[in-house]
Symmetry: C2
């Protein structure tokens, strides 16, 4: 997934490069439902993520221009993350993905249900 090997043949692909990777879409989803979230709040909402990976994801999203980082030098410091305008634009696209993903999930569950009934 290094930039070197990641081909630019396809705009979709370079685009997905910014939002894919474990946890990233979920982070965007959480941020799209709140004005802003602090580092610790995001960490609490994603129990299995480590501070290292969460930091990495937020830095990459910031570098991609999708997320704002607002550092307040209080003691202890607080850092607020929020979506940029571009990040907010993603919401529509993500909802499209969500719709398809959920529909397919339901179809699959339906089929599993049918299979179980047939097996009885």
């Amino acid at each position: 997934m290094s930039p070197k090997h990641y081909p630019n043949l396809c705009p979709i692909e370079s685009f997905l490069g910014h939002i894919m990777g474990p946890w990233t879409p979920y982070i965007l989803w959480l941020l799209s439902n709140e004005e802003s979230l602090r580092f610790g709040q995001i960490a609490a909402l994603i129990p299995d993520i480590s501070a290292k990976v969460l930091t990495d994801r937020l830095r990459k999203l910031e570098a991609s221009g999708l997320v704002n980082r607002d550092y307040q030098p209080t003691v202890p410091p607080t850092v607020y993350y929020s979506l940029t305008e571009r990040g907010a634009e993603l919401h529509g696209v993500l909802q499209g993905l969500n719709k398809v993903a959920i529909r397919w999930d339901e179809e699959d569950r339906q089929k599993e249900g049918d299979a179980e009934i047939a097996a009885e």
Copy 2:
């Protein structure tokens, strides 16, 4: 990206799990523009991909139910790949991504152009 660590909190994320990874969106894009393509044809359209990775991607797409594999035991054998119905449904979603990706690209190029002019 192992299934163990890849969280299921987010439908979008499990959905993206099927289509992300280097080359995968581009393969889907190519297939969505043709009735079917042989292995060698896809390889020729993506010069930098290795046979190993292409095989891997096609197998995973097949396992996800997005791509059909049609093996013809001719000599030498020919294998036709095409989108399944579900794979074809992706086309709309991919176009949505494509639209945003291209728009942002253009906006960025515009900004770069402005910066160059300002620097003169």
